[in-house]
Subunit: 378 residues, 2 copies
Amino acid sequence: MPLDERKKNILKAVVDDYIATAEPVGSKALVNRYHFNVSSATIRNEMAELEEQGYLEQPHTSAGRIPSDKGYRAYVDSLLQVEDLTAAEEEKIRVVMRDSLDELTGMIRTASTLLSEKTGYTSLALSPKLNHSHLQQIKMLMIEPGRALVVVVLSAGVVKDRLARVPEVLDASQLVQIAAAIEEGLSGMKLDDITLVTVATAARNIRLPENLLNQVMYEAYVAIKQADNLEVYMEGSHKLLSYPEFQDVHKAREYLDILNRDGIIAGYMTELKEQPLMIDGDAESGSDGQIKRSPTRPQASYVVRIGQEIMLEGLTDCSFVTTTYKMGDVVAGRIGVIGPRRMAYGKVISNISFIKQILNEEIRRLTTGEDRMEVHQK
Amino acid sequence: MPLDERKKNILKAVVDDYIATAEPVGSKALVNRYHFNVSSATIRNEMAELEEQGYLEQPHTSAGRIPSDKGYRAYVDSLLQVEDLTAAEEEKIRVVMRDSLDELTGMIRTASTLLSEKTGYTSLALSPKLNHSHLQQIKMLMIEPGRALVVVVLSAGVVKDRLARVPEVLDASQLVQIAAAIEEGLSGMKLDDITLVTVATAARNIRLPENLLNQVMYEAYVAIKQADNLEVYMEGSHKLLSYPEFQDVHKAREYLDILNRDGIIAGYMTELKEQPLMIDGDAESGSDGQIKRSPTRPQASYVVRIGQEIMLEGLTDCSFVTTTYKMGDVVAGRIGVIGPRRMAYGKVISNISFIKQILNEEIRRLTTGEDRMEVHQK
DNA sequence: AATTAGCACTCTAAGCTCGAGAGTGCTAAT
DNA sequence: ATTAGCACTCTCGAGCTTAGAGTGCTAATT
């Protein structure tokens, strides 16, 4: 059975209040703080029903109610009104993003830092997945005998480089020659399709002793593959300690341990799919307890995972709000926020949406070369 | 008055015990756990004197003693015996360090990570100060019209690069030409001595419209200056939450806040001097309370700052152990550990000393080009 | 003179009780 | 359908008590 208007209002008020205060919300407090034209007894009845339907929980019998995962879910999906940022806030984000280096990972880092600053939670960002990019150039620059810088340029306009050891007997021109051959043979190929074999094929006509060539080829291969290394940027992980739900040091530690454990977050964010999440209606409330997405936000461009939905041991008191950013037309990576379940969803969503938008714009600017020729300043 | 042998032993036992348990140490516990051939009453008298002289403190009248800053200082300076790492531990460090990328900052990061892992505390590292290095090469590689990669090679064998915007009308050969001119004009100069003016002088003979040239020169200049950017690597800042002294969330948060506050740590580590620290003997105990450095460790190559000595608000419950690493013969940067004052100094010092040594070796290997031609593996 | 046994004293930490207060669910009246 | 009223429940903090660890001092011992 869908919630009637009044229940929705009450649920919304409870969630709002709990988000603001972190204290269980009682019927009286609700009547006082919000303007329902009914008595606390009525509210009590409604709250009891909301609890029965699984939207609210009681920490103990004589306490107020707090939202359950399902309650937050309903709140996020259809009750919350997301306000736009103020012009000033938008401007600040624009300025900071524009001042970040003309470089992809720098931008993403900046976006992540901004997100953490603006929301007060921990921000996370995944470096772009470039395996569908095409190799455009590969250059080798001799630094000194035995060492070379391998520069890989991808179709997306992304530049990666790597210092490599090369045989000392090679001179700069030989190196350039090898790089040219590899570039000619491979350019236009998708990163995914490049293997040691294809590299070798590209270089087969070089007239050099095989063992020398092999080493250089290998380094080229590594440099190319490394261009697609997945990285995770995290900012503000300590900010969570301010929130009452992490006052218990054990919780806080568990939380920080998980965030710092290699690969967990990266893996999780990589797996995350945009698809709408199925809420398991539990046996009692039946599967009809679901709430439809508000028609005013037909295709939200962010994903919210609340509490248990995260499915990561130890983060059940948290919520995840993420979104993707694009390079060209293809989803390249993900950026988001993790914080207490009792998160200021409205603020987070408006910030994340806007930052995503600006990030996409900046990336487009970067990768298409369309450009403002700004005046440099110190 | 210097401490007699028994007092030293007692002080050492107290510090050892307190480091191990985080509990104030009483006279009885001391007699039980260590084998003094005297009664607890004697120990009590001795401890009272040690307190009078400022080496120990009492949290409250009927508790055991804990070391004061001065007590720790004495412990570190002359009581502590630093054991070498086991062969296995040394080997592990060697292996990890050797497997790190052939790149300076990567090595320092690896060293920092290792340090945190091996000690269980937060590790800190400062990127090398390169302002005394000489410019060796500067190359510009056209990525696409309007964008170029500026590669800066320093005398130390350090390579830094940076994506730059250049006027779209420039072609690759013009760019190479400009870079060559700048390189010719500047190579051999100290980073410190390079200014916009010297760059301009180097490029004065290029026949290009001034506004185009200016932009490229500016980018070259920025790339060169940026090669010496100071960076701080921090690893394992969350590990501190495990220790009882940070069970109080406010303390923990304060601690993490400071570590994450931009510039504080960088500034502090930059300022740190190797000079032996003056202990202010307070009025009561007189200035003769100082303890001479043990002759067996005539010039310890590390700096220990304990509690108040750190002189950073909010870190008074911490200790800092740092050391420097070199490039060539000149001190380049600093690497260290921050943890609770009740720190396992022995373990930290042996690890830091060894890691410093290996780091120096690896840097030498890197910067002199002296090399093992290892077999590459996936 | 140094050491030690003995003891009174101090202080904390943990456990306990208890009452205030907030909140609930239920019933009966509106 | 709503609400006033009320008995009931539960938590939280204050205040109290006690066990135990540790001390400092004194007087006896070596």
